[in-house]
């Protein structure tokens, strides 16, 4: 037998790499475009999410509502149904990240392909993860954002990779100035300025470590995440039994070298051919191009495939589902659902809390779009379901008055899309003054920085003259701030700009937020005509 590798499949492999590079580039392009670019409305930069059938199904189950944009996920499902998991192998940007690092680790000899168990072993994990997610959604516990590949990738980039990039860039700029290359430093600083990258995130370090861990798992197995963990891959796997693209081995040419199966990125096991797993194959064409005798090929056949060698028995399915049924109520045991949390300030347009949690997929798009870095991933503010959902932290940033970007980029409508005119009427909290720390009240000195920054007209922060006893016994009379809660929208610029920096003397809590019927303060603030008036979206 003449040993020769297939040029056709080599070319297809390159084409696949080009496709992956293109979609990864598109992901980066859309992500870096997710900020204020001079226009009030920025278009559908979040469109990647709408092609994700896992998010579509999970959100539909958890929130009991169909979101029109997710119609695009039908394309992904249709492609998978007809052709197989091409989306995993050719499009998914997280898949490309894992593939790239698998390649690097292979070249570095850190990752040595080994023969796998015939049973498929850990392949089944991802199906369990999928079942737990979907069954929990039935109980309105939406955990999909934790493990969905796009949510994971976006979150990691927004809170980890991009801040790293911005700070590395700053270090480089500092170096340029140190080397007296000022004009290069100036240009680069301006370039970074136009990108408006948010650099500060609570949990930024932790979320970066998670991403790093996911990447390093590729040292253990090629595309570890895609093989064993990815619930979206599992969902597409369930849909790829009837696909017409098959992998076949021509046994006349095969020399049983096992290279194809050894180097299969996702353990789809092309050889022996009866063990090929249609549900696992992502059509990377590695097997066909690595085959020394052109024995592996991809014919088109319509016969459905059995899901072989993945131990997805009925017994295990029922057991996993039962596990999710039992686990779901635990997520509701915290006081988060019982009573509004003072520091749980949600972005403007956020739905009432229970609805919000059912829809938010923790993707961090809003945190990328926020012009002031105010939106931060929650840790425990919103209970265990609410981890990594957006919370506004006025100490880091404030809600920019004329900006509604976060409402525009939310892929699931957890933050309802608002026009600027609608947005400026939404109250996300209320400001309070700590007179024990406020400079005019406590120290008898002039300040009222908060009043200067208050964006509403008329201002929600007004001033009164107050007398303060000074340490020497004299009395100072100063203008001191008072809050008009009828006008305050809770944007938090007062807290952000307060000169008492460590623990601001004026601060925002969530009470009075438009979205909630329970977390109210002044009944008048609930205007029936307001865009977020809770008609139909009451929180219980």
């Amino acid at each position: 037998m003449k040993k020769e590798r297939s040029r056709k499949y080599r070319a297809l492999q390159y084409l696949r790499i080009v496709s992956q590079a293109f979609f990864f580039g598109l992901f980066l392009y859309l992500l870096f475009k997710t900020h204020f670019t001079g226009q009030d409305y920025i278009g559908r930069v979040e469109v990647f999410f709408h092609f994700d059938p896992l998010l579509a199904i999970a959100t539909a189950i958890a929130a009991r509502v169909l979101f029109a944009s997710f119609i695009l996920a039908g394309i992904t499902l249709a492609v998978t149904l007809v052709a197989g998991r091409y989306v995993c192998g050719w499009v998914c940007p997280l898949g490309s990240v894992h593939q790239f690092f698998s390649f690097v680790f292979k070249k570095a000899r850190l990752l040595k392909p080994r023969k796998e168990e015939k049973s498929g072993g850990r392949l089944v994990w991802k199906y369990y993860i999928l079942i737990v997610i979907l069954v929990s959604c039935l109980f309105t516990v939406d955990l999909v954002g934790i493990a969905d590949p796009l949510s994971f990738l976006y979150r990691s980039f927004v809170t980890g990779v991009i801040p790293w990039f911005a700070r590395a860039g700053a270090a480089f700029i500092r170096l340029l100035y140190g080397l007296k290359l000022s004009s290069a430093g100036d240009s680069l600083a301006q370039f970074f300025g136009t990108l408006s990258l948010n650099q500060t995130f609570y949990q930024g370090f932790f979320l970066s470590l998670l991403f790093l861990a996911a990447v390093l798992l590729n040292v253990s197995k090629e595309r570890f995440w895609c093989r064993y963990l990815c619930p979206a891959g599992a969902l597409l796997g369930l849909f790829s039994r009837w696909n017409v693209a098959k992998v076949r081995v021509d046994m006349d040419k095969c020399i049983k070298c096992n290279l194809c199966t050894l180097h299969c990125q996702t353990q789809a096991n092309p050889y022996p051919n009866e063990g090929w797993r249609s549900s696992e194959c992502v059509y990377c064409y590695t097997c066909a191009s690595i085959c020394p005798t052109k024995a592996v090929y991809f014919p088109v056949k319509t016969k459905p495939e059995k899901i072989t060698s993945i131990n997805l028995s009925r017994r295990r399915l029922i057991f996993t589902s039962a596990l999710a049924v039992i686990a779901a109520p635990f997520f509701k045991t915290t006081p988060a659902g019982k009573r509004a949390a003072a520091k749980l300030i949600r972005p403007p347009g956020a739905l009432p809390e229970p609805k919000f949690l059912e829809k938010c997929v923790k993707c961090s798009e809003c945190m990328k779009a926020c012009p002031t870095n105010a939106l931060q991933p929650a840790l425990d503010e919103a209970g265990p379901e609410g981890i990594w959902t957006p919370v506004l932290k006025p100490k880091i940033g404030y809600c920019e008055y004329y900006c509604s970007l976060c409402t525009q980029v939310c892929p699931t409508g957890a933050i309802k899309e608002l026009t600027i005119e609608e947005k400026i009427k939404v109250k996300i909290g209320s400001a309070w003054i700590d007179k024990n720390r406020c400079i005019p009240y406590a120290l008898g000195r002039p300040c009222i920085v908060c009043e200067e920054h208050c964006p509403t007209s008329p201002k929600a922060i007004k001033f009164v003259m107050v007398e303060t006893k000074l340490p020497d016994g004299t009395t100072a009379t100063q203008k001191a701030p008072v809050i008009d809660l009828e006008l305050c929208i809770g944007c938090g610029i007062c807290e952000n700009k307060c000169p008492v920096v460590d623990s601001p003397a004026i601060y925002v809590t969530s009470v009075g937020e438009t979205r909630s019927e329970k977390n109210r303060l002044l009944l008048e603030t609930l205007q029936p005509g307001s865009p977020l008036s809770p008609d139909g979206q009451r929180d219980q």
């Binding site: 700029i173 500092r174 100036d186 136009t194 920019e400 009222i448 509403t456």
Partner: protein, 295 residues
């Protein structure tokens, strides 16, 4: 001419100049201040500079010019929270006509810089006229000796200090703490650091800054002025149409003129008194040559 003669002439010349102010006045290329009213912000700016004797009086060939507008807030021009973009554009054009090599327009904004630059209309207008409109660059922040009476040292953006010529282009606005924010207060946009702490002694602080930055020219934008809810406003009803531009070599006089539009006497603004005492300029406009025109 030998050295002795030269020194003698120099001394003599000095004595003559010292005791004959009329001689200096004759040599003076224009008035101290020009106040122009009219419908078009660009036209009245152009006229104000013409009345001052032309931009060439202030800008020499090859100068690097820094224009400091107020771009502090994320507001559109008709809300009068930021300097009128047409005035900035006209000034950039005049600077280039006068031979400037480079014109830069920048401000350390309060709201997000990208939003303020775009929505104020200033970035687009200034760029159209050929100016550079960079964001403030933290790396160019340098701690400088201000030698003020209160502020001894403060981190300032080097761009404002390194420019050959400095033009301050404030807009006249209401402000709850110092009553009006005009030209001298505008220098808070040229500095970095914990600016909000200056509020504890704002009048002294802004005079210290004004005496440090010393612009060659102040062009007061009083086309629209903000009469309440300052310094941001937010409603058209907060704005009053004054349709005036004043160009002045005296920064104190420029602020004094602006105060007049709010019916505020100069002695009501503490910082004007402090600035006058420090010799930064005049609040008594009678002592200045003022040219008034209408377009």
């Amino acid at each position: 001419m030998n050295r002795r003669e030269f020194i003698k002439d120099l001394a003599l010349g000095g004595v003559i100049l010292r005791y004959s102010p009329s001689l200096l006045a004759q040599a003076s290329p224009g008035p101290d201040m020009a106040i122009v009213t009219g419908e078009s912000p660009a036209a009245i700016t152009r006229e104000a500079l013409a009345a001052m004797g032309g931009m060439k009086r202030f800008i020499a060939r090859g100068d690097k010019v820094m224009i400091k507008p107020n771009i502090g807030w994320d507001r559109t021009p008709e809300l009068a929270a930021t300097t009128n973009p047409e005035i900035i554009k006209t000034l950039v054009e005049l600077c280039f006509d006068a031979g400037a090599k480079e014109v830069t327009v920048m401000d350390n904004t309060t709201n997000q810089a990208q939003r303020c630059y775009a929505r104020s209309g200033i970035a687009e207008a200034a760029k159209a006229a050929g100016a550079k409109v960079p964001f403030v660059n933290e790396f160019r922040l340098k701690r400088m000796a201000l030698k003020g009476e209160w502020l001894k040292e403060w981190p300032d953006f080097a761009d404002f200090v390194e420019a050959d010529k400095l033009i301050n282009v404030p807009i006249a606005k209401h402000h709850s703490l110092c009553r009006l924010t005009i030209g001298m207060k505008n220098w808070l946009g040229a500095i970095g650091g914990a600016r909000n702490q200056l509020h504890q002694k704002l009048d002294e602080g802004m005079v210290d800054l004004a005496s440090f930055f010393k612009p060659q020219l102040t062009v007061l934008d009083a086309y629209r002025i903000l009469v309440r809810n300052g310094p941001q406003g937010g409603r058209i009803s907060d704005v009053k149409l004054q349709k005036t531009v004043a160009a002045s070599i005296d920064p104190v006089a420029a602020d004094t003129v602006a105060a007049g539009f709010f019916d505020i006497r100069p002695e009501e603004l503490a910082y004007l008194g402090i600035a006058e005492k420090r010799g930064l300029g005049q609040t008594n406009l009678e002592k200045l040559t003022v040219e008034k025109r209408a377009v």
